[in-house]
Symmetry: C2
Subunit: 155 residues, 2 copies
DNA sequence: AAATTAAGGTGCAACTTCCACACCACGTTA
DNA sequence: TAACGTGGTGTGGAAGTTGCACCTTAATTT
């Protein structure tokens, strides 16, 4: 299942990545504290900003990522940099050109990706993360690194 | 679309969250550098660990999150703490009991969630993030916070 | 000159996943 | 006695995804 062979990192790189993950976990825990505290402080009794509100806000915030391939496309553009349609299709093993086309359109509509047309002939179309997409990609980085370590594809 | 009214944070909390997000972005960028550098250093010419390998490893790492509702369920347990089946169903507006049941089973199989049965009668079943699930939830925190700010549901 | 390749997709049938609705066994509450 | 809360499962249809064929334009290969 995992891509072989695993990438072997030097002990220094390994330590730095592990410490980045732990630091990010700390950030996440702190953010959780602030949101939770704010929720309780605002409405001790029946709150507008109760748990249901916060869950709904989070579901809403993640909405953009929760259809298949979206995260993978962002991660790919983040890792590989600007790519053209057929390059993405080769990198994203298993995606159909139909689905790739649909997802790229949705990501473009959501402001995560720019579609850059360089007209030829031949016309070439490059996809690039927007500033917003790039930030999302970076924020996904520690989670991806953690999952890679967990799965053993990086050691 | 966004949950109303927005949560208003104090300037201090706002600053701390923004700085957590920026710090996490820095971690993400650094991790990217290390992986990218390791890739090139390993195989200047034809590499085993080329971009395709890294994309595949990332797609693989994220596989667990890429079906509908999975991220939302994790985020909900992360925000709300341990919850029982019907509590989750009420919090996750729009999910069917069928789908919730299936997704909880899959998350349990993937080691993200523990299913805790307290037998009665009545039998009660509590779902709880595993240590692994909790870490994933924390790592998701900065991204969720960033998206909430972006959407204006937190100001 | 003809065929193939590559660009960036679209059209369609088959397949998989998701959803709404009904329902189950059991126990408590009204 | 009937309705309700507990944690789900069964079913059919709707929605999402896939593989394959195909399109237009132009360059390259045979």
């Amino acid at each position: 299942m995992m891509p072989e062979p695993p990438m072997i990192l030097s002990p220094e790189d390994m330590l730095e990545i592990e410490s980045s993950i732990v630091t990010t976990e700390g950030m996440g825990a702190r953010i959780r504290q602030i949101f939770g505290g704010n929720r309780l402080r605002d409405n001790p009794a029946f709150g507008v900003h109760d748990i249901a509100w916060e869950v709904e806000a989070s579901v809403d915030a993640l909405d953009v990522f929760t259809s298949r391939w979206t995260i993978e496309i962002l991660a790919t553009l983040y890792i590989a940099g600007d790519r053209r349609f057929n390059e993405l299709r080769k990198l994203l093993v298993g995606i159909s050109s139909r689905t790739l086309s649909d997802k790229l359109r949705k990501c473009t509509e959501n402001g995560l990706i720019d579609r850059i047309v360089v007209d030829g002939p031949p016309v070439r179309v490059t996809y690039r993360l927007t500033e917003h997409g790039l930030r999302a990609g970076r924020l996904l980085g520690p989670l991806v690194a953690y999952m890679k370590l967990q799965k053993g594809s990086v050691q």
